[in-house]
């Protein structure tokens, strides 16, 4: 019997088997993702202070770290007030603001939509930076979980806990001026950088930091995901002489920003994984 058909049959069989193997898709996650509640903007900041040495630590950053980044020193009057307290805690959770002193409740203030509107009106009347964008303010504060605690202690404060679902909106105006959430920062891009960005056709950026993982989108197109390891950060720090100090606190945080160049539409979406 001629062997040619056997070869062809064998070849066809192998191709068929391999084809089926390749076409086989991994099981897709078809289960519907349970609809979650709108994620909250969680900010927990611990501050410790020592009136004896007139030093303070915020969010896990030591007094020395803070001095390096130009944190202000308090006046003696402020230290006198602080020395009379063991601790003050401000909590904004749900529709209430609670203030505690020395672990005892001092007072509570309503923090619902109506009371926030009064606050925005007051801010609009008294601040000179411009009107508060109520929609943006509500995006930040509607589901906020904010705890700020001041403790009289010589210990280093607890690391920051920041998990922001709302993107910080940053805008670069046509003249290069930088504003954050509509408020001018006083900083601006150099004309060379602005020309480069405009010529390259970059209209917006979305940057997300999630405990060391960096996601970046340029004009809506995702770039490779970068992971910066906490242990390896010292190598980068020393290699480029950045003098970053101890950045341990931010490795437990997640936040993001949307940057818009010129009059492009704001960057939408969230950063939470």
């Amino acid at each position: 019997m001629n062997k040619t058909p056997t070869f062809i049959k064998l070849l066809l069989a192998v191709i068929l088997v391999l084809g089926m193997l390749m076409v086989q898709q991994p099981p897709m996650a078809t289960a519907e993702i349970a609809k979650q509640e709108i994620p909250a903007n969680l900010v927990h900041i611990d501050v410790t202070y020592d009136p004896g040495t007139k030093s303070y630590s915020i969010g896990g950053f030591s007094a020395e770290d803070l001095r390096q980044v130009g944190a202000p020193q308090f006046q003696d009057e402020i230290w006198q007030v602080l020395s009379m307290l063991d601790g003050v805690t401000l909590k904004i959770q749900g529709d209430v603001i609670d203030i505690f002193t020395n672990d005892q409740p001092l007072f509570s203030v309503a923090w619902d939509g109506a009371s926030r509107e009064i606050l925005y009106s007051l801010l609009n009347a008294y601040i000179e930076l411009g009107d508060v964008d109520m929609e943006r303010a509500e995006a930040w504060l509607d589901k906020a979980d904010i705890v700020i605690s001041l403790r009289q202690s010589k210990e280093l404060s607890e690391p920051l806990q920041i998990s922001l679902a709302t993107l910080l909106q940053v805008q670069v105006k046509d003249n290069g001026e930088l504003s954050v959430e509509g408020f001018p920062t006083g900083m601006s891009l150099t004309p060379e950088t602005l020309d480069l960005v405009n010529l390259a056709g970059i209209e917006n950026l979305k940057l997300c930091w999630n405990k060391g993982v960096i996601d970046l989108q340029v004009n809506g197109q995702a770039l490779p995901q970068a992971t910066l390891y906490q242990g390896g950060l010292s190598v980068v720090d020393k290699a480029f002489g950045l003098s970053l100090g101890d950045l341990t606190p931010i490795f437990g945080s997640s936040f993001g920003a949307g940057l818009v160049i010129g009059e492009a539409d704001p960057v939408t979406g969230e950063c939470l994984p």
Partner: protein, 143 residues
């Protein structure tokens, strides 16, 4: 059947069977030998390699979508890419480069050849989807 065609068919079948086994195993990454590279003092990389005292930096390219830099077994930074994000990076890099050249020379700079871009995309996609390798370069600082 002529001998040539028979040999060709058998070779094809062997290749297909081997690839079938490789595919069935989940397309594991095939490690290639590490390439040593000595960096002399004075080179820009030298100061970076010696900065943490280890005098060694390892750059690993895993074509399944990861580029990692390690120093003394400590991961420094890792980049996870897909062919799409790689292409987006090339696109952005090219636009920035053209913009920079245009600013410096005040002339229009032509874009790179579309064929070259396609070729790069195909190569990246091939080594990402079909056969995966791990290639490492060990940078050692000379005293």
């Amino acid at each position: 059947m002529p001998r040539f065609w028979r040999v060709l068919l058998i070779s094809l079948i062997i290749v297909l069977v081997l690839y079938g086994i490789y595919f069935a195993l989940g397309r594991p990454v095939i490690p290639l030998p590490t390439i040593p590279y000595k960096v002399s003092p004075g080179q820009p990389l030298h100061s970076i390699i010696t900065s943490d005292g280890a005098d060694e930096l390892k750059l690993t390219l895993n074509t399944s979508g990861e580029i990692e830099i390690t120093s003394e077994d400590q991961s420094v930074v890792a980049l996870n890419y897909t062919p799409e994000t790689f292409d987006n990076t090339l696109d952005l890099g090219e636009r920035l480069l053209i913009a920079q050249k245009s600013l410096q020379s005040n002339e229009d700079v032509p874009e790179s050849s579309p064929f070259l871009r396609k070729l790069i995309d195909w190569v990246i996609a091939y080594y990402y989807h079909v056969i995966r390798f791990r290639l490492s370069v060990l940078l050692t600082a000379l005293p």
